[in-house]
Amino acid sequence: WALTRRHRGIEQEPLERIHLPSGETEHRLTRVVAGASILTVIILFALLIASVTTGKALSELGPKKQGITVEVTGNQWWWYVRYLNGDASRIVVTANEMHIPVGRPVMLRLNSNDVIHSFWTPNLHGKRDLIPGRVNTEWIEADHPGRWRGQCAEFCGMQHAHMAMWVIAEPEDQFERWMEAQRAPSKQPSSASELRGRDVFLNNACVFCHHIAGTPAAGQVAPDLTHVGSRLTLAAGTLPNTKGNLGGWIADPQNVKPGNHMAQIDLPPGDLEPLLDYLESLK
């Protein structure tokens, strides 16, 4: 802008003739331009070095300690989370929520069941795509306890906007308690309402898609509900997990999250309330 101001004075002159600078001016300009170009190259080179060393540092930060391995599978539009373990009975399955121990690296094995998604918790690490047919790896590690929102970062269809996940970092002992709780089969109904709710669940189409350990419900295409009551959110981060929200979600899923794949089930009046009681009890 200073440049233009400099020339404003000259503009008033009559300008019939074309301005052809002297050879000396051209020469001087050549030197300036060449110098600026070289400077650009040097700056870019410095940036390149910085970028590469940062990348190196990041990858060297990598898992030094023994960590845990978690398999994350993308689905339209929710996250399937599975804590791997050599002992098959100690595998933990959950959805849209991941608890991790503070100070221990978590290896992620990323895969997809349908389209390409991308796993991204901005506060923990960069993003990595989940691609059908291949397994990408990534690791995260939390330095202090906390909760972070993660989100699908690759456009994956109608409800791409509502495909979030919470990563919850806890101290080691708390994490282990959580794991133990998750390993347990679902809590048995403890009241008449909950018992009725379980029957409603088992006698409806819910069982074709959802799994609740300890009951005959063994569907595999939708989130595992064994401990659904313990989760923070519903429908992949769309709603806070409250009884009211859950009721709205079951009664009219398309209203809450248009386009999602959850079947709409018309429950007779009076069935919804016990069902909610039962599901909320699955801590």
Binding site: I18, H19, V33, T40, V52, S59, G133, F155, A161
Partner: protein, 626 residues
């Protein structure tokens, strides 16, 4: 080779030649003339106007998206419509606005700048225009019937594949690509032949105007990049969707990532296909409005060429998040940064030109300075994106959205507006209002920065792109609201521009052939140019033939005027033919029919062959004119 001699002084029957040319280059009257026109001025103007209409449509779509995002949990537009909106917006801006617009400017200006009468293949030019128009109509026919594509403008498989995008939406997208890529390839082919073979006598490579260089490099990039999108969208995507091949089906050995590789092998050069002509426009504006030969012409040309070269090696930097070999990071980053050097050289050369020239601060120069400012910012964020650790954070967020709007709007749209103001007198014979132009610039400049600067911050705060809504607790609301306000200001800027153009067309100051005292040959023609451009074809005695005194300028004689003749290419079409229109129509019907598998698409493709035969049927031997 002729030795150096003074060209002789000759007598020219100016009026007589003009009459002869008017006769042989006249247009057919009436409707027939509209469908058979093959002069480059008419077709170039059509390209420009049609592409501008698509710019407006794409802009309105963007405005709707901004309104939806203005506040959290906004119920204004649902996810389905929103996804169609951003896909159609991106597709329109890339395929129906930016590329055709640049090509339209090329079609209009290149023959004038080279001092010839038409492009090398006028019928192909007409065919290309019709294909572009039909493709655009096809896409919007789909959009208006709620069949607009919704898988993003790069339609990644498997989301766009048969399983996850049933229906015709993605088919329409892919077939629209066919239309526009045929059109782009037609224009690229004819511009290459025109620039290489039809330059004015004496126009050596070192005398070609910068804009023509940029169109040449762009055309070569189109020739080598468009086949990749042909493979991606027409082969991988359409065959997978229609006949059940397995290119993207991981279960049968296919790989969805290959689609990305091939798409970006086209998609990255595409950015330069849009941006390089804009560089040429900036050079034209700068040299004219500083009254000074462009500084560092050879360096400028070489940096254009190297941009063209390097553009083909950078596709991977769209795919850092897909899990590439970690060992390659340094290489990818270095390659991505190389392109910044080429752009840097250009910018330094313009600054040097302005520095040592006499800057006339008319509207085109405002847009050039605005371009430099915005483009440098976009370039800086580009360098940031080349650094992989950073890219993995901001990839697919609003930071990237901000970055490529800075590069594309700053790098292509601002020069384009400058170019409109610069060449408007050539197009219409009248000047655009300069005061209104400056107001127009400031509105656009402020609106643009207000819209897109906050997006950098949104991206850094974690807002991913292509989401139709976001929860209030993320705290993205205020910046989004600001961006929406900016978008409305851009709309006002657009209205001011249209008003200025329409008013100036009728009431503007009469321009005359050379209102800016420009140096290149397009200023030698009338404003607006006649169908034959020049009564006597000019000879390029220097890089700026119009800056030599009139008495030293040289013209060509001995070209026949009783038929459409130009130098080197000899004969043009005897009569404006209808065949390009018919062929485009038939091929268009075939492609549309194939999309919907109507039973008539085979006959339509067959009839296309007949159209082509009619097109290429050798004319009567010349001289035997009935």
């Amino acid at each position: 080779m002729t030795p150096v001699t003074e060209p002789p002084l000759g007598e020219i029957d100016d009026e007589g030649e003009r009459r002869a040319l008017e006769r042989s280059w006249r247009r057919r009257p009436g409707i027939a003339g509209w469908f058979t026109v093959t002069t480059h001025q008419a077709l170039g103007k059509r390209y420009i106007v049609t592409a501008f209409v698509f710019l407006l449509i794409g802009g309105v779509e963007a405005l709707f998206m901004r309104l939806q995002l203005a506040r959290p949990d906004n119920p204004l537009i649902g996810p389905d419509k929103y996804n169609q909106l951003f896909t159609t917006h991106g597709t329109t801006m890339m395929f129906l606005f930016a590329v055709p617009m640049m090509e339209g400017m090329g079609v209009y200006l290149v023959p004038l700048m080279l001092g010839t009468r038409n492009v090398a293949f006028p019928r192909l030019n007409a065919f290309g225009y019709w294909m572009f128009l039909f493709g655009g109509i096809f896409l919007y026919a789909g959009f208006l019937t709620n069949t607009g594509p919704d898988a993003g403008w790069f339609a990644y498989t498997p989301l766009s594949g048969p399983q996850f995008s049933p229906g015709k939406r993605v088919d329409i997208w892919a077939q629209m690509i066919t239309f526009t890529e045929i059109s782009a390839l037609c224009v690229a082919t004819e511009l290459i032949a025109t620039i290489l073979k039809m330059r004015a006598p004496g126009m050596s490579l070192t005398r070609i105007p910068m804009f023509c260089w940029s169109m040449l490099v762009q055309s070569f990039m189109v020739v080598f990049a468009m086949p990749a999108v042909m493979v991606a969208s027409n082969i991988f995507l359409l065959l997978d969707r229609t006949v059940g091949t397995h290119f993207s089906n991981a279960a049968e050995g296919g790989d969805p990532l290959l689609y990305q590789h091939v798409f970006w092998f086209f998609g990255h050069p595409e950015v330069y296909i849009i941006f390089i002509p804009a560089l040429g426009m900036v050079s034209s504006i700068v040299e004219t409005h500083t009254r000074r030969a462009i500084f560092g012409y050879p360096a400028m040309v070489l940096s254009l060429v190297s941009t063209g070269f390097i553009g083909f090696g950078l596709w991977v930097h769209h795919m850092f998040a897909t899990g590439l070999p970690q060992i390659g990071e340094a290489y990818f980053t270095a390659a991505s940064m190389m392109i910044a050097v080429a752009s840097g050289v250009q910018i330094f050369c313009w600054i040097a030109t302005m520095w040592s020239g006499r800057v006339h601060m008319r509207t085109p120069m405002y847009f050039v300075l605005g371009f430099v400012f915005i483009f440098v910012l976009g370039g800086l964020t580009g360098v940031m994106l080349a650094a992989i650790p950073l890219d993995l954070q901001v990839h697919d967020t609003f930071f990237v959205v901000a970055h490529f709007h800075y590069v594309l709007i700053g790098g292509a749209l601002f020069p384009l507006f400058g170019a409109f103001y610069h060449w408007f007198p050539k197009f219409t014979g009248r000047m655009m209002n300069d005061a209104l132009g400056k107001i127009n610039f400031w509105i656009l400049f402020v609106g643009f920065n207000l819209t897109f600067f906050p997006m950098h911050i949104l991206g850094l705060k974690g807002m991913t792109r292509r989401i139709y809504t976001y929860p209030a607790e993320m705290g993205w609301g205020p910046a989004n609201a600001l961006a929406t306000v900016g978008a409305c200001i851009i709309l006002i800027g657009g209205i001011v521009f249209i008003a200025n153009a329409l008013a100036s067309r009728v009431h503007g100051e009469i321009a005359g052939p050379d209102p800016w005292d420009g140096g290149t040959l397009e200023w030698a023609a009338d404003s607006p140019p006649r169908n034959y451009n020049f009564v006597n074809l000019p000879v390029a005695t220097s890089r700026y033939p119009m800056w030599t005194p009139p008495e030293e300028r040289v013209v060509v004689t001995g070209v026949r005027h009783d038929r459409r003749e130009a130098l080197v290419t000899t004969l043009m079409d005897a009569e404006p033919p209808i065949w390009p229109f018919i062929t485009a129509l038939l091929l268009g019907l075939g492609l549309v029919g194939a999309t919907f598998r109507f039973s008539w698409y085979y006959p339509a493709f067959g009839a296309t062959g007949i159209g082509l035969i009619g097109w290429f049927w050798p004319r009567r031997p010349e001289g035997v004119r009935s």
